[in-house]
């Protein structure tokens, strides 16, 4: 009942006219970001953070704007999967399997509508899950001491690569790099300047927003240049929508099953939206067996992964909000946003900023309805935007990213840093070192060091404290598993995902 009260209060925050407007703007922007090639959700939210910051939006409006962008981007990703056979982001990969064949059979509009409905169901169910689960987890997390937190941070890095990750050593290396960047500047605990080389600019440390935008936006531009992908892709023609109620009921059970599975995958560390949509698709395929024509344009093959990845995206908010530990790239970017608004996520968030959290959760509901309403009638406009060629789009995106960074402190210095980190990000991506752990390292670094110090101060310098409670031993065990499992399971799962894709490709 207490929860319901908070939620009602949250709706009070989310339904004020200005916040409603921000939710609508965010949903539209997010769908665009998700649909446009070369602008994944993480990238899009990253570019918008400094802007939301410089425009001086109040915390709740900024959060509502950016979470709507996040939700919208998950919707938008499917549009290019279906129309171009190119997944907008990794989780949308499975949607291409049946979405593109449907589009080729002249049922693009139906595929888009069904995926929008499945996305809606996925987000809706997962938001309910979030409401039920988050307060419980937050209460539980209050028992965490500094030693447990330290272990939890280690777990976050270890599982970040996900079960499908490639080389765990590279994940670890990337995390170490990020943590090292975080140590630059005045040490919060003692006031000692570290790695500043007596440069005034470095005393405050390196601003993670600059690193974020540089690494994501600028390196993406460089990849586009390298791939000569300026001209864009061939697109399927959009037909007129003919969707009956019975078509919706037909996919309903699939979408609901997908949502529940996806939510669980989103909450668990290391699983994430990619695996969520993959599991939903394969399970549904096995469950329906010969009754369905998966891979040949079965609407249920569109509904399952879409419900799954939207549910997982919302599920991923649970560990991010309650523990302050994001499980994916995009939630890491949302964490960056919280920190830049001076809000520390974690169990205390639900007590100190109850208005804000519940406002955001209510905004997820509101945004979800707006998205469904937008996506059915306006999908034609979004599809048109897909045909904007990257050679015009990418420079504009770069410009908007630069404005955001410039407006942080009105200095060209920040722009130089942005370009430098862009080059660095490009090199890292070239040698297949993931960027997300670097960002996460920068975000979690200060907290992680503080919890380590607190723990060691409590224990008077004895390192035993880090594995003295059952909880912390459990966390370490999961962390170690998270590093080892990918080397065993990773090649297996990735092989299966590729095989599924190639297999379907032959049929088309």
């Amino acid at each position: 009942m207490e929860t319901l009260n908070f939620l009602m209060h949250g709706f009070g925050v989310a339904l004020t006219p200005s916040n409603l407007m921000f939710a609508a703007i965010g949903s539209i922007l997010g769908t665009l970001i998700g649909a446009l090639p070369g602008l994944g959700p993480a990238n899009g939210v990253a570019i918008l953070i400094p802007l939301a910051f410089s425009l001086g939006l109040p915390a709740d409006s900024a959060l509502i704007l950016l979470t709507s962008v996040y939700a919208g981007a998950m919707y938008g990703g499917r549009i290019s999967s279906i129309m171009l056979n190119i997944p907008g982001d990794e989780p949308a990969l499975m949607t291409t399997l049946d979405g593109y064949p449907m589009a080729r059979q002249g049922k693009a509009a139906e595929a888009l509508a069904i995926s929008a409905i499945a996305s809606f169901i996925g987000s809706f169910i997962a938001t309910i899950g979030l409401i039920l689960l988050a307060p419980i987890l937050a209460k539980f997390a209050l028992h965490f001491g500094p030693a447990e937190y330290f272990a939890l941070f280690a777990l976050a890095f270890a599982t970040l690569g996900g079960v499908t990750g490639k080389n765990p050593v590279k994940t670890l290396l990337a995390a170490a790099l990020g943590l090292m960047i975080a140590t630059v500047g005045i040490d919060h605990n003692t006031g000692t300047p570290r790695y500043t080389f007596n440069t005034l600019e470095l005393y405050e440390g390196v601003d993670f927003i600059i690193v974020l935008v540089g690494m994501f936006a600028i390196s993406e531009l460089m990849f586009f240049i390298e791939a000569h992908a300026g001209a864009g892709h061939q697109m399927v023609v959009l037909n007129k929508l003919r969707l009956k109620m019975s078509d919706i009921f037909h996919v309903l059970p699939t979408a609901i099953r997908g949502s529940v599975l996806g939510f669980v995958a989103g909450v668990l560390p290391g699983a994430g939206a990619s695996l969520g949509s993959f599991i939903c698709y394969t399970l549904e395929k096995r469950l329906l067996g010969n009754k369905a024509h998966f891979g040949e344009g079965d609407p249920r093959g569109v509904a399952a992964p879409e419900a799954g990845n939207n549910a997982a995206a919302n599920g991923a908010l649970v560990p991010m909000l309650t523990l302050g530990v994001p499980g994916s790239g995009t939630t890491a970017v949302l964490l960056a946003m919280l920190i830049s608004l001076n809000i520390t996520p974690g169990p205390m968030l639900f007590q100190q900023h109850a208005d804000l959290v519940w406002g955001v959760i209510a905004a997820l509901f509101v945004g979800n309805f707006i998205l469904l309403l937008l996506n059915i009638p306006m999908v034609g406009i979004f599809v048109k935007l897909l045909s904007i060629r990257p050679m015009y789009l990418m420079p504009i995106v770069t410009l908007v990213a630069s404005i955001g960074i410039y407006s942080l402190s009105h200095s060209a210095m920040d722009l130089y840093f942005m370009v430098a980190f862009g080059i660095f990000g490009y090199v890292l991506r070239k040698i297949e070192i993931p960027l997300v752990p670097v960002i996460l390292g920068m975000l979690l670094g200060p907290e992680m060091e503080t919890s380590m110090r607190h723990a060691l101060t409590i224990s008077d310098g004895s390192w035993n404290i880090f594995y003295s409670s059952g909880l912390s031993i459990g966390l370490w065990a999961i962390a170690i598993l998270g590093l080892i499992l990918p080397t065993v399971l990773g090649p297996l799962l990735r092989g299966k995902m590729n095989k599924a894709r190639q297999h379907e490709g032959q049929k088309v």
Partner: protein
């Protein structure tokens, strides 16, 4: 292959780890010091982790990714120079002129014709200026065009 990407990167990272770790030992003792954990404890651990990962990469590198050809490297260099030039000239030229040049050159280098690149540059720089400076009241530098307003 002896000189694999991962191997070269591993060596660079090893150097960084050693330098960073050495830097940690040079940090001054905090005032009133003698605490169990000082400002150098955490960096030392990081130096070890980075060093061990780097050694792993040197010993057991992944197969090398292909690097772009010299021509594409040239293209990338142009992009970097354009972006740096943008940062350098922004305050002097002002937002509209600098953005016009930046967007136009970038979109030309990505394959647009000169005329359409110029058009996109013009439309974007003016449009974005109107949206952000006037619409959203985010002050952007006027630069050379400052006299006109």
């Amino acid at each position: 292959m002896l000189l694999n990407n991962d191997r070269i990167f591993g060596m660079l990272m090893l150097v960084l780890a050693v330098a960073y770790g050495w830097g940690a030992t040079q940090l001054p003792e905090p005032f009133g010091g003698n605490e169990v954990v000082g400002p150098s404890t955490f960096p030392s651990i990081l130096a070890w982790i980075l060093g061990l990962c780097a050694i792993y990469l040197i010993v057991k590198p992944d197969p090398s990714q292909e690097w772009p050809s010299a021509k594409i490297f040239g293209e990338l260099l142009v992009v970097v120079v354009v972006l740096l030039g943008y940062a350098w000239s922004l305050d002097y030229l002002g937002f509209i002129l600098a953005s016009f040049a930046c967007v136009a050159i970038l979109s030309w280098r990505m394959g647009a014709t000169l005329a359409s690149a110029a058009l996109v540059g013009l439309g974007t720089s003016v449009g974005v200026f109107l949206i952000f400076d006037i619409g959203l009241e985010l002050p952007l530098p006027m630069g050379l065009l400052g006299g006109l307003a």
